[in-house]
């Protein structure tokens, strides 16, 4: 496994911002030595953790995704594709670090009004439903543009009824759900499915999954807001 390569990838992403933060801590913030030190320990843990995480994702989830995609398409039963799409989308999104972190911060800021666990569940369910829809799209060959337009159309209609407190949070959830675990997994699922189907639209079919998947959480959090807001 290419540990070194992954480590370099993580370091290039994290080091520049770390340097800027250190500079800010020294000048503007004048952070205490203790804070300075715990930030450095945090950075080291982040780099190590993210490296391990990415290596694990690359060597397990990608092949899991492709195997699932292949057997999904072989089955050919719509209800099976739908059910499995929801289950896969749901369980993969639960494991997405961005979702956990966002939900944590939302719970803290709303002083517990928007519960972390509920939010994570709802967001993951949103991804699950929209992942199932994008699998169906491949089966019925529905153009992506129709689904994107109607998805966002629905988002903006629902936004009218959504309480102010949930509005920013819902769009943030849409952005945060697609990250280092969902994107490669969903892509490999798509590759697995379209590899069996073959044909000329193969490359076009494997795009669009992620874009559709990020509409789900926006709608899901808005509905949560309409009910509880």
């Amino acid at each position: 496994m290419n540990i070194k390569e992954t480590m370099v990838e993580v370091l290039t992403a994290i080091l520049p911002i770390t340097l800027v933060i250190l500079l800010l801590q020294l000048t503007v913030i004048k952070a205490e030595l203790q804070d300075f030190f715990s930030f450095l320990v945090g950075v080291i843990l982040t780099v190590l953790g993210f490296t391990l995480f990415l290596i694990g994702v690359k060597s397990s989830l990608l092949s899991m995704g492709e195997m699932l995609g292949v057997s999904l398409f072989k089955s050919g039963k719509i209800w099976f594709v739908l059910g499995l799409g929801v289950a896969v989308g749901f369980s993969v999104t639960l494991a997405e670090p961005g979702v956990q972190i966002l939900a944590n911060q939302i719970e803290r800021v709303s002083s517990g009004d928007i519960s972390k666990n509920l939010l994570v569940m709802v967001v993951s369910l949103g991804v699950g439903i929209f992942l199932a829809l994008s699998l169906i799209r491949i089966v019925f060959r529905i153009p992506l543009v129709y689904l994107i337009l109607s998805g966002y159309g629905l988002v903006f209609i629902l936004a009218i009824f959504t309480p102010e407190n949930f509005l920013a949070v819902s769009f943030d959830a849409g952005g945060a759900t697609t990250g280092p675990i969902t994107v490669p997994f969903i892509l490999s699922l798509g590759v697995g499915m379209s590899s069996i189907r073959g044909g000329q639209t193969l490359s076009e079919d494997s795009f669009g999954f992620v874009g559709l998947a990020s509409i789900g959480p926006i709608l899901a959090v808005m509905i949560l807001g309409v009910i509880f807001g």
């Binding site: 950075v43 780099v47 670090p97």
Partner: protein
């Protein structure tokens, strides 16, 4: 000191346990019913999943004691300054740095270069996106300082996107909407989010739940618009 470094570690372990459990159970069930992988393959996948498990714990805990507390502290200090407009240029700088270095974005850029047959250079894309994200973070700071609703940015932004869709090839539409999540990498949801929420706490009259959040939404719009605009330019060449 140890107490500070370990604070919240157990929470991270529990979070990760709950986060990964469904995926593991689901995969084992699916394997039992339909895949039936040989034991060797299965144990390889389970070993990799344990890397994901330990990696996630370290990452979440590291981010909590590192980037999230630093982001919160920097935001609160800057927001409380008399010159709190400093948040705007500093937000711009940080947004640029985070995006310019993000490997996931480089991958997207190379993909666009390929699809456009080399017409849209990946270097050009990188500057386009980094400045776009920098502007999005700066705009979020302006929202925190002035309380302008997120709405006034999202509605015109997505309207523009829907208009642009008519003028580009379908493949650009797919890439554009797929890449919304690419830029909102781990540093945006952690450090920059803690920064905007922290600033919002410190700036008088700002509401963290409506103004501090919304930054990710603006950042996610950047690649959608960037790819569509470059797609239009490509179509008109």
């Amino acid at each position: 000191m140890m107490a500070i470094l370990l604070a919240g570690f157990w929470d991270a372990v529990q979070d990760v346990l709950w986060a990964l459990m469904p995926l593991i159970v689901f995969f084992l069930l699916f394997n039992f019913i339909s895949l039936k992988l040989p034991a060797k393959e299965l144990s390889k996948i389970l070993r990799s999943l344990s890397l994901v498990f330990f990696g996630l714990i370290l990452f979440l805990h590291g981010v909590n004691i590192g980037f999230i507390s630093a982001g919160g502290a920097i935001g609160q200090t800057l927001g409380a300054l008399q010159y709190n407009w400093l948040l705007i240029p500093i937000g711009f700088l940080l947004g640029f740095v985070v995006t310019f270095a993000e490997p996931a974005i480089q991958i997207l850029n190379i993909e666009v270069e390929k699809v456009s047959g080399g017409y849209i250079k990946s270097k050009l894309m990188l500057y386009f996106m980094s400045i776009g994200v920098a502007l999005a973070v700066a705009l979020s700071m302006i929202r925190i300082l002035t309380g302008i609703s997120l709405w006034y940015f999202l509605v015109p932004g997505y309207l523009l996107a829907f208009i642009l869709i008519r003028f580009v090839k379908p493949i650009f539409v797919a890439i554009a909407f797929d890449s919304g999540g690419v830029v909102t990498g781990p540093m945006i949801a952690t450090f920059i989010l803690a920064l905007t929420v922290g600033s919002s706490y410190a700036v008088e009259g700002s509401n963290p739940i409506t103004d501090g959040f919304g930054m990710i939404a603006l950042v996610a719009m950047v690649p959608i618009l960037s790819v569509l605009i470059l797609g239009v330019l490509y179509g008109n060449k």
